[in-house]
């Protein structure tokens, strides 16, 4: 009746891979940030899947999984705030949000 842990993990891995792929191929910082969010949420999914898995094994829920997820959500918000601030600062300087427009450090 419930979804098996394996499937949840596969889903998580898929999401994570999509995030990674997005991170690799996209140049728009906003999209890159979104990709990272996707990866974080994939991790969250995996955490919760694991927590459920071990809860079913031990018969009671452990705090670690959900706690971790809570922290991740909070931190993700902070990261998003800082990230967007940086993007704005970047945009002010360069009038673009493309990572390709970063000044090369080697001449």
């Amino acid at each position: 009746m419930s979804v098996p842990t394996e499937q949840l993990l596969v889903l998580s891995a898929l999401l994570f891979s999509i995030g990674v792929a997005g991170f690799f191929v996209r140049r728009n910082v906003i999209v890159v940030l979104m990709s990272i969010e996707l990866m974080l949420n994939a991790a969250n999914l995996a955490f919760l899947a694991g927590a459920r898995h071990h809860a079913s094994l031990a018969g009671e829920w452990q705090a670690e999984g959900p706690v971790m997820v809570t922290f991740v959500i909070a931190v993700a918000a902070v990261e998003a705030a800082v990230g967007l601030a940086l993007v704005i600062a970047y945009y002010r300087r360069k009038r673009t949000v493309s990572l390709d427009q970063l000044t090369p450090t080697l001449d």
Binding site: T5, L9, S12, F16, G19, F23, V29, V32, L33, I36, M39, L40, A42, A43, N44, A46, F47, A49, G50, A51, H53, H54, L57, A58, Q62, E64, G65, V67, M68, F71, V72, V75, V78, E79, V82, G83, A85, L86, V87, A89, Y90, R92, R93, K94, L99, L102, T103, T105
Partner: protein, 487 residues
């Protein structure tokens, strides 16, 4: 909420968390003082006071360890205390360097200082973390202020770009860490280091291996271990110099402090692999630094090499796992790491501090060529830079030498002799560029268009002098400084 649980959770936490509390209180005070003009007079003393208090309470942990608190998540033992001192020292150096470093950003120094005080909190949490959750919190507490600080000179493209680069890659690294932690948790049902160490055999499965690899990848990223080092030169170069100094010394120290904690969870067979990564890192870092002309970039590459040496220590500690001298080697690994990061904090911190100091005379002092012949006009600065360079190169009478000696000792005792030899040979390359600095300082004439530098910065001078004294003290009488500390 059940007060009993809280009681249990925070029993004895006062002493254990005192350094963190000092920092938290301090940064609040800084922010408050920043808002109220009437408190202007106290602003300059707040940060030293905070750092001093934190250091004092961290020192107390050494002689009187508080043990595990927060439900076993945070271990405030002597090691944590010792590392905390290093973090605080590097934060203090960064703070001292930052005075009068910023010009157009000077009005925002309060924010700067508040962020500067946040980072060591993260570092201390990392050093004492006993599970991945607390480590994650520490990591973020360290990283996020640094993202901001890197981009602190927001009127400058390079600074903003450094912050953006660091952030994008850092966030990616955190995501990797989280995925790794999630996999490990799903596999073992535990996020505590103890639990991971107990389930070591599970880690050999594909899922465990992937989890561990992702975990290490994120740590390697923070520490700047090859091939996760590529961001290091770019970010150090773009970030304000004091921040680069803090990243180089504090972040690296924190990452390795946690890696030391992680050692029991790693299978002994991984030792050789880690050693190889270490040697490759040393080689890449040193070779990369060889041709650099920008001092910050040069020290960035050299920092990569030092991360390699530190990883060699970890590799030794891992490789010795399961042998009958496991304990001895792990103790040695701790001594080595502590002495190494302490020496590195003062050497690299001192060197970058001098760069920051001279930058007050013009940005061009980031370039090594501007330092040519400085020995004749600013012998003190040149002598300091020479001492720091020699210490980074591991020449005796400096802490760098004893650090190197202990690091290789650990590797040799774990029977990683060929790796130790290779690593030793890469430090010949290292001397290649450290000597180049010394050559420029003393053995070349001053460029004709170079005006005599005039910037007088007593605090930076004091910081440099203190660093130099510490470098020498660590090199000549390590027992005096660390013997009690470690013992």
């Amino acid at each position: 909420m059940n007060p009993e649980i809280l009681n249990e959770l925070y029993a004895g936490a006062g002493a254990a968390l005192a350094p963190l509390l000092w920092l938290a209180a301090g940064l609040s005070a800084v922010l408050i003082a920043d808002v109220f003009a009437g408190l202007k007079a106290v602003r300059p003393v707040l940060v030293p006071l905070t750092l001093g208090g934190a250091a004092w309470s961290a020192g107390a942990l050494i002689s009187d360890p508080a043990g595990a608190v927060l439900g076993g998540s945070f271990l405030a033992d002597a090691r944590t205390g010792a590392f905390a001192l290093v973090f605080l020292a590097s934060a203090a150096l960064a703070w001292a360097q930052a005075r009068r470093y910023y010009t157009e950003e000077a009005p925002f120094l309060g924010e700067h200082d508040a962020l500067l005080l946040t980072a060591p909190m993260g570092m201390i949490l990392m050093a004492g973390a006993q599970d991945l959750i607390l480590f994650f919190v520490g990591l973020e507490l360290l990283s996020i202020p640094l993202y901001c600080l890197s981009a602190f000179r927001r009127a400058r493209t390079e600074s903003v770009e450094a912050g953006l680069r660091y952030f994008v890659l850092g966030a990616f690294g955190v995501a990797l860490f989280l995925m790794g932690a999630a996999l490990l948790y799903t596999l073992t049902g535990s996020v505590s280091l103890e639990g991971l160490a107990a389930a070591k055999e599970l880690l050999a499965s594909p899922m465990g291996a992937t989890g561990l690899a992702l975990l290490l990848a994120s740590l390697f990223f923070k520490a700047g271990v090859a091939p996760f080092h590529l961001w290091v030169p770019d970010v150090y170069q773009g970030a304000p110099t004091p921040i680069a100094s803090l990243m180089a010394t504090g972040t690296k120290a924190a990452a390795f402090a946690f890696l030391l904690r992680l050692v029991p969870a790693l299978p002994a067979e991984a030792g050789v692999g880690l050693g190889l990564v270490a040697v490759v890192t040393m080689a890449i870092g040193n070779l990369g630094a060889l041709g650099q002309t920008d001092l910050k970039r040069l020290f960035a590459w050299s920092g990569v090499a030092h991360a390699g040496t530190l990883l060699l220590v970890i590799a030794g500690a891992v490789a010795a796992g399961g042998t009958d001298h496991q304990e001895a080697v792990r103790n040695a690994a701790f001594s080595a790491t502590l002495l190494y990061v302490a020496a590195y904090a003062f050497s690299a911190g001192g060197a970058l501090g001098l760069v920051a100091w001279m930058e007050a005379d013009g940005e061009e002092y980031r370039s090594l060529s501007r330092w040519q012949g400085l020995g004749t006009v600013r012998p003190g600065v040149a002598a300091g830079m020479t001492l720091f360079a020699l210490s980074l190169g591991g020449i005796p009478a400096t802490g760098g030498f004893l650090g190197k000696w202990l690091a290789f000792s650990t590797a040799v005792r774990a029977e990683l002799v060929p790796l130790a030899v290779l690593g030793a040979l890469t430090s010949v390359v290292a001397l290649g560029y450290y000597l180049r600095i010394v050559v420029d300082l003393w053995m070349r004439p001053r460029p004709e268009d170079a005006a005599a530098p005039s910037a007088e910065r007593p605090l930076a001078a004091f910081a440099a002098g203190f660093s130099a004294a510490m470098v020498l003290a660590l090199g000549v009488a390590p027992g005096l400084l660390l013997g009690r500390l470690i013992g």
